[in-house]
């Protein structure tokens, strides 16, 4: 019988044919935790009476949220994670100096493959769907169970396919496509579902762009955000892999999104679905611009921002923070002269961290302050004080905004070739 990609992947990991709506126990190929969710998972792992992780090659521990340690308590949590990694001889533990934001790091390190089942105690684990993996965010108890047993319970999700038709404005990128989709279907439009992204506009995207889109599947409530595996995926992975695809006559819903001429977008406070064209928000002045995160902290993002900032200075009174998503991204940006562009423009560049995206450290907002961020959430108090505001956008809008001090459509400061 015909099946969706989600049904096929979960079936192959459950050892039985499963359908949307059923509950299954499936084996997992990778289990991920960070310095916030890991310590709690470790505590619960011990409470479960577990002594050894099911496979030290399949557990990935990344201190990235509050590292480099933001205070003594954060340091204690990072220490707990480090000690557990040593005790369990975890292969994939990434210390400061070789780490990155987990969802930038894992694909980069070749740990993610099409058809895998990956669980992570971080909601943006859905990022790996860009490479065709069934990857989903879970809690710490879930991760403790998965570390102990190598399997976990799942509800097999229904599939909602988003088909992007038309050619967006050349100034719009992957972030604008996903913001548009969330604006259209809403923050719970894909609740409990598997999203599939397809259509000419997304097939043209690089793997980095696809990672940006899959990353925000959770912002529409989805369990996973899947892309088909194609030549770009194989080139990125350096492997001749095949993806798991939905049968044409499987049971799923399709929604067509017309993105012809789509302009650069911004999600205004306080929901990622509160999406407007950037040019409609010119009246909004900002105190800070943040370029980074698991959504937009990859080389392509930094390049997009640098191409706009090159040879200019950021607007007076605007703090511009650039956070490369991993050591490898940082190094590549440095070698290409991108870091120099940022520094000469008057931006601050930091070591990789989730940091300010969740109001942790390295760029937290004061009361009443406004930030234009390339991150994924603009909830109340997300980046700091409850009265601060976060506007979400892609790296081009962020760079243009850095130059003017108010929310700016990049076409206002640079010209784009038509087509």
């Amino acid at each position: 019988m015909s099946m969706t990609a989600a049904e096929k992947i979960l079936s192959s990991h459950a050892g039985e044919e499963v359908r949307a709506g059923s509950f299954v126990e499936a084996s997992v190929d990778l289990v991920l935790a960070n310095d916030i969710t890991g310590p709690l998972a470790i505590e619960i792992f011990r409470e479960m009476g577990a002594e050894r992780v099911f496979d030290p090659d399949k557990v990935v521990l990344v201190p990235d949220h509050f590292v480099p340690n933001k205070d003594v308590r954060a340091a204690e949590q990072a220490k707990l994670l480090r000690q557990f990694a040593r005790e369990q001889a975890i292969t994939h533990y990434f210390e400061v100096g070789e780490m990155g934001i987990e969802h930038v790091l894992l694909p980069e390190r070749g740990l993610v493959m099409p058809g895998q089942v990956i669980v992570g105690a971080d909601s943006h684990t859905c990022t790996y769907g860009a490479l065709g993996a069934f990857a989903t965010g879970v809690g710490s108890t879930d991760v403790a169970a998965a570390m102990a047993l190598g399997r976990l319970w799942f509800r097999v999700p229904e599939t909602l396919r988003l088909e992007f038709r038309g050619t967006p404005s050349p100034a719009a990128g992957a972030k604008d496509l996903i913001l548009h989709a969330i604006g259209e279907i809403g923050v719970e439009g894909a609740r409990y579902m598997a999203l599939e992204f397809c259509g000419p506009a997304v097939e043209k995207l690089s793997v980095e762009g696809r990672l940006t889109m899959a990353n925000m599947a959770v912002e529409a409530g989805a369990k996973v955000g899947l892309f088909a595996v194609d030549a770009k995926t194989r080139e990125y992975l350096g492997k001749d892999v095949r993806g798991v695809e939905t049968d044409p006559d499987a049971s799923f819903t399709t929604k067509v999104l017309d993105v012809a001429g789509l302009p650069p977008l911004v999600a205004a406070p306080h929901l990622p679905s509160n999406v407007r064209p950037a040019e409609e928000l010119r009246h909004v002045r900002v105190d800070q611009v943040y370029i980074g995160s698991c959504t937009n902290g990859r080389l392509e993002d930094l390049e997009a921002a640098a191409s706009i900032l090159k040879g200019h200075r950021v607007a007076p009174g605007v703090r511009v923070l650039v956070v490369p998503g991993s050591q490898a991204v940082y190094l590549a940006a440095l070698r290409r002269g991108i870091i120099e562009v940022f520094l000469e423009a008057g931006a601050a560049v930091s070591t990789p961290t989730c940091g300010a995206c969740l109001g942790g450290h390295m760029g937290v907002l004061a009361g009443g302050e406004r930030c234009l961020a390339t991150t994924n959430r603009n909830f109340v108090g997300r980046m700091g004080h409850e009265s601060s505001e976060v506007y979400l956008a892609g790296p081009a809008v962020a760079a243009a905004t850095a130059l003017t001090g108010y929310i700016t459509d990049p076409r206002e400061v640079v010209s784009y070739a038509a087509g």
Partner: protein, 162 residues
């Protein structure tokens, strides 16, 4: 049967409201509970009484995977969460740690201060203040088994020993 007062919140209550990330350097429910829901209502941790209910609209618990969110609610003394719908990771986390949650289409009818009598196992909510009765969407048998086992921890403990 649980009995307590309702604390009503709106749609899309996210995990940054339930417990802001800056407090995630602790895993202690009592400590987390002291900051629970404060971005929405700074007085909530002081005014909520043990056994009260959090009631909300759609998509409760959207956002982060932090299990600290249901732990904070429990630490604040919340006996159960009743909402029109739940975001999926919060839903998992609540089931896994054994915090009763009830998906109820009529949750919108409940107001802050309403006196409620709640039977999570039967999926029954009685609004004593308004003289109304609501039914929660029944949980699938698979999840009821996890809850009846006392959450995911006892379940895994059994498997680990095997």
């Amino acid at each position: 049967m649980l009995r307590g007062r309702a604390w009503k919140f709106g749609d899309n209550v996210d995990t940054d409201i339930i417990i802001p990330a800056r407090y995630l350097t602790s895993t202690d429910p009592a400590e987390l509970g002291a900051y629970c829901m404060t971005p929405a209502d700074p007085e909530f941790p002081h005014r909520v009484r043990k056994g009260d209910f959090v009631v909300a609209g759609q998509n409760f618990g959207c956002g982060s995977s932090r299990e600290h969110a249901p732990l904070a609610l429990r630490g604040a003394g919340v006996a159960a969460v009743i909402a029109v719908s739940f975001a999926r990771i919060f839903f998992r986390n609540a089931i896994n740690i054994g915090l009763p949650i009830m998906e109820c289409p009529q949750a919108d009818a409940i107001r802050t201060g309403d006196e409620l009598e709640v039977d999570p196992a039967a999926g029954l909510i009685r609004n004593l203040t308004r003289g109304e009765e609501y039914r929660a969407t029944p949980l699938p048998p698979f999840l009821r088994e996890i809850i009846e086992a006392g959450g995911l921890v006892p379940y895994v403990r059994r498997e680990v020993r095997r």
